[in-house]
Symmetry: C2
Subunit: 256 residues, 2 copies
């Protein structure tokens, strides 16, 4: 099977001009088929604040009322996405900015209200691997913003890690997929205070043990859960690494 | 040749919920291959105002400094475009929101400063008919926002009428193209004060005569100039009509 690299980068790297320029260069240098999934939370918070809209986070997730949905639609689907696309085009990468609504590539439903009402937040139902693989076969490089749609005309704010994972899983039947989660640390750390204590590789049993021991905690837990789900669904390699190391040669490799 | 309908709608119709819903229904009902090109100026002005950014217009065109470029990227590429896409998907139209940067479909250069410095405004150089026709052949319906790129990483605010005209011209070699400019009047009017004084059809000689006589003036002049350019470039039909009559059965037909 042909190789496909899916890179997920967080908001921080795409919102600083210097780190964005580095990312664009690094991403352009990746050979073969590829997809970029990006965040943009900091810019959304900044715009919301400029508009006098308060940002509320619960468990690291943004509460998305209709005003905030307008903000994230503008920032994720417009500002961040289109700037990445224009810059990739300048490097000869045939980028196409997309949300889940575009070509219906990712559908979701509004998250049920249990303890918390997250508002217009989507839980993913389906990734349209057929549409995506047709684009990829045509040499197009999808650049995916963290928004999905419910198929009834509503956009929904959606976690970018989840979207990257769902994209990887759906395309695992078509390609030999490597999924790389980039963030601000060198990988999964054994000691949160030591940036160099990267765990080079981790399997699911070790993950559970380290979580119970409290070594792995916070936002790393859902990230690794997504990673293991992807591996179970046929994704070949999942790597968690620094946003300046998107070639996947460093960081933590997730194995079954 | 297969038929292709290109509809251009202004900001006003896409910014009101009721008229947008009507447009979505009408556009979904158009048979065959189609493209939607939209504006969004009023929403841009509204967001700019909320952000304390002053909107400056010269000859009906927006002065686009870097703050305003950020605004139009968010509003045109994000808010307006993605809402249209989600709503069209809900009607079973396989919409794909695009700017000129996406798949490099439209390149431009920053407008030269003569009497006025329009800032980050693009004059179109090239429309990528190959990429667009491949999408269209795959059943995709491009929804185009009024932004282009310069191929060097910069987005540029671009007139939506011009983009619709350039798209029509570029695709005239592939399709039997009908280009429909929708706006707030029933067509080209013989008497600006009488909404029912629609000129049913107009050729270039008549256009020049009526312009000299002052019957045709203001924003209608560049609209008709775009229309005649399109006709000269092989576009089969250009129609100027009401935004509630996008089937092209009313309005003014532009002929050679």
């Amino acid at each position: 099977m042909e190789k496909l690299t899916i890179i997920k980068v967080g908001g921080k790297i795409v919102e600083d001009d210097a780190s964005l320029a580095q990312l664009i260069n690094d991403f352009a240098a990746i050979e073969g088929r590829k997809i970029l999934v990006h965040g943009g939370g900091r810019s959304a918070t900044k715009l919301a604040s400029e508009l006098g809209i308060e940002t509320q986070m619960v468990n690291g997730r943004r509460i998305t009322d209709s005003d905030m949905l307008r903000v994230v639609t503008m920032v994720y689907g417009g500002l961040v996405n289109k700037n990445i696309v224009a810059k990739l085009q300048a490097c000869g990468v045939n980028a196409l900015g997309m949300t889940g609504a575009d070509m219906d590539i990712m559908r979701s439903h509004k998250r049920e209200v249990k303890d918390v009402d997250y508002g217009f937040v989507g839980d993913v139902d389906a990734c349209n691997d057929d549409m995506l693989s047709r684009l990829i076969e045509n040499g197009v490089v999808p650049v995916i913003a963290p928004l999905t749609h419910d198929g009834r005309g509503c956009l929904l704010n959606t976690n970018a890690d989840t979207m990257a994972g769902e994209t990887a899983k759906a395309l695992a039947t078509h390609y030999d997929v490597t999924l790389i989660y980039c963030f601000e640390k060198k990988g999964v750390l054994r000691n949160a205070d030591d940036d160099d204590s990267v765990i080079p590789s981790i399997n699911e049993a070790e993950f559970h043990r380290l979580t119970e021991e409290g070594v792995i905690q916070g936002g790393m837990i859902p990230k690794l859960e997504n990673a293991f789900q992807a591996i179970h669904a046929g994704v070949k390699r999942v790597i968690i690494t620094l946003a300046t190391a998107i070639d996947g040669k460093q960081g933590t490799v997730i194995t079954e």
